[in-house]
Symmetry: C2
Subunit: 357 residues, 2 copies
């Protein structure tokens, strides 16, 4: 642990690799006599950095050539609207697995008549669907899922097969944390502030045929075709946020790529789930095959114990562990950049805290 650095379990914005931050600090003033905040997005220097960032993404994620890689502003929440505006004809199928999928559904309802084809709300979102639970309607323009549910702590480990109906995924909180077949998806979007970089830039990966869909008058700024044609330079992109993403991608590559990252993520998550499974003190509300490797959510016997746990962990340099206000409990967000040592420290702390009761 670097001096003056805490173990930051924040759910997002979240921890970034220390070496990326140091690289940013040492380089952001040196962009041809100006800083990264001052360079033109129409200049050669920015273009080279943007091209490199997209190429790195394509390489790390194995993105096929008929997919566009876009960097947009407005957050993943803007995608909740852009998706139905652009690619929903009359209806689309939504899978409800938590707060964010509900928000995506609410926005889709403003544009058309989406249907819910799976929901685990009755069991407090204790799981994501099994592949056989997802049966798309034939008139659905797409099926929308949330690959990882930050608040409830669940995650898909097998994606549904939606056949010819495009699968659309909000991957804000687990993108780049495991390898998967991008060609099984029509559209993927992700706010950067968990695994990719800082808040302020959103990644969109969209298949070429979906870019060309057009069912209604959409504001020019909200059209995927606008951003695809202009290669994310229709308007001024968040330059410095993209630069930080660039540095994060290079870090991922240095770690050995996404497969190596996944291995670390599985090992990190296992350290905490192992404590949970051996304990009758801690409980996790999520079914075993839906457990998230990014956000480990668990409860203690009482709110009072929970508060004490969070406060004591903070004293020991572990911050951001308080669960989301809608579910309570504890949440350990352990994204790609979260160090193994910090997870070990938490697991050890959990055992000691339980023993002391």
């Amino acid at each position: 642990m670097q001096r003056n650095r805490v173990y930051n379990f924040n759910p997002g914005p979240a921890i970034l690799p220390l070496e990326v931050l140091e690289e940013f600090r040492d380089s952001f003033m040196n962009f041809g006599g100006m800083s990264i905040f001052e360079i033109s997005h129409r200049g050669k220097e920015f273009q080279a950095m943007m091209d490199e960032t997209i190429a790195l993404f394509r390489e790390l994620m194995g993105i096929p050539p008929h997919y566009h890689v876009l960097f947009l502003g407005g957050g993943a929440s803007l995608q909740f609207s852009m998706v139905p505006m652009n690619i929903m004809d009359k209806t689309a199928d939504h899978v409800l697995t938590g707060t964010w999928s509900k928000k995506a559904l609410a926005e889709a309802k403003i544009i058309g008549s989406p249907k819910v084809i799976f929901s685990s709300e009755e069991t407090k979102f204790s799981r994501v669907p099994r592949p056989e639970d997802v049966r798309p309607n034939s008139d659905a323009s797409y099926v929308h899922i949330t690959s990882n549910n930050t608040i409830y702590g669940s995650q898909y480990h097998v994606f549904p097969d939606t056949g010819l109906i495009p699968l659309v995924a909000d991957m804000s909180s687990d993108i780049l944390s495991y390898p998967f077949d991008v060609s099984k998806f029509g559209l993927i979007y992700a706010g950067a502030q968990k695994n990719l970089g800082p808040a302020g830039v959103t990644l969109v990966i969209i298949r070429d045929d979906l870019v060309k869909r057009s069912y209604r008058m959409v504001p020019v700024i909200m059209r995927y075709s606008t951003h695809a044609e202009e290669k994310s330079l229709y308007n001024t992109p968040p330059v410095s946020a993209i630069y930080l993403v660039n540095l994060v991608l290079k870090w991922v590559k240095r770690q050995g790529g996404v497969a190596a990252i996944e291995k670390h993520n599985r090992e990190k998550a296992a350290m905490i789930y192992d404590v949970l499974d051996k304990s009758s003190f801690y409980k996790t509300p999520i079914e075993k095959d839906s457990r998230s490797f990014m956000n480990v959510v668990f409860t203690l016997p009482s709110d009072e114990l929970t508060d004490r746990f969070v406060a004591k962990a903070k004293e020991q340099g572990m911050t951001g562990l308080k669960g989301h206000r809608t579910v309570g409990g504890v949440r350990a967000s352990i994204y790609n950049a979260f160090p193994r040592e910090g997870v070990k420290t938490l697991a050890q702390f959990m055992r000691e805290f339980e023993r002391a009761q």
Copy 2:
């Protein structure tokens, strides 16, 4: 001139004060054991910084209490849509003074039936309207203007009086560069990347009654009411961009506030316009009372001379002087942060270049 710093005449993203960049470099890693990129937007530390930023804005611009100050993502281009979606009933009046006002009009046409009540397009946008040129239609939901036209180099020095019809202004390229009466406006928006900070955050100042307007179903993320009610925290805001804005505002305050900034801006612009007025070699296409203090646009007798001028200036450490491709010529963008010394250097260079022909 700091070693390794050029005179950056970029139109936006644009120059920032060197001391702000240094302050950022020295502080961004020190946010309670994490960096500004990693702190939670729901935490006390961020909230204190956000509150301070808004308070500074209110103080520097004299924003009355019945106006909301919002920080949104998506750029000023997203506002081209959000404005008509939220506050246009059937029609609105648009004033066309350049590329950006045309873009705002195009987006408004997708939502309703805006009218053009003034355009200087026939004279290649050589001027902004005089107050008497702006006669709003009685059914207009608002009048939309662009206070400074970065590409053509024109700027309002007197704003039209639109009576009870709200005046809406895109102030992306001259916000905070002169004091003015905010209460004459219904809504003001501005991308940050000229006078406020880095690309990636947009300021919206909106009068309370306009927040409450509702004429159609608008996506939740696109409603001003959403962002006003949630105080810009409906979704994750661009945290680090807001922090940089915070530092810029403190810098403006240290300069003596917006009135002192305006004095500097007038003096800087006068140095270049003085060369233009005394020359028959350089020409400015903008009428005298519409000249911009932010972007000084001028032409040389031939494209070949223009290219030579830009190249030679670059050799001498002055970059970003090439005019926008749609108008050609030279453009010197001299926003708040642009140092007086740099303008002096350019004026001197202009005189020498002319003499050498």
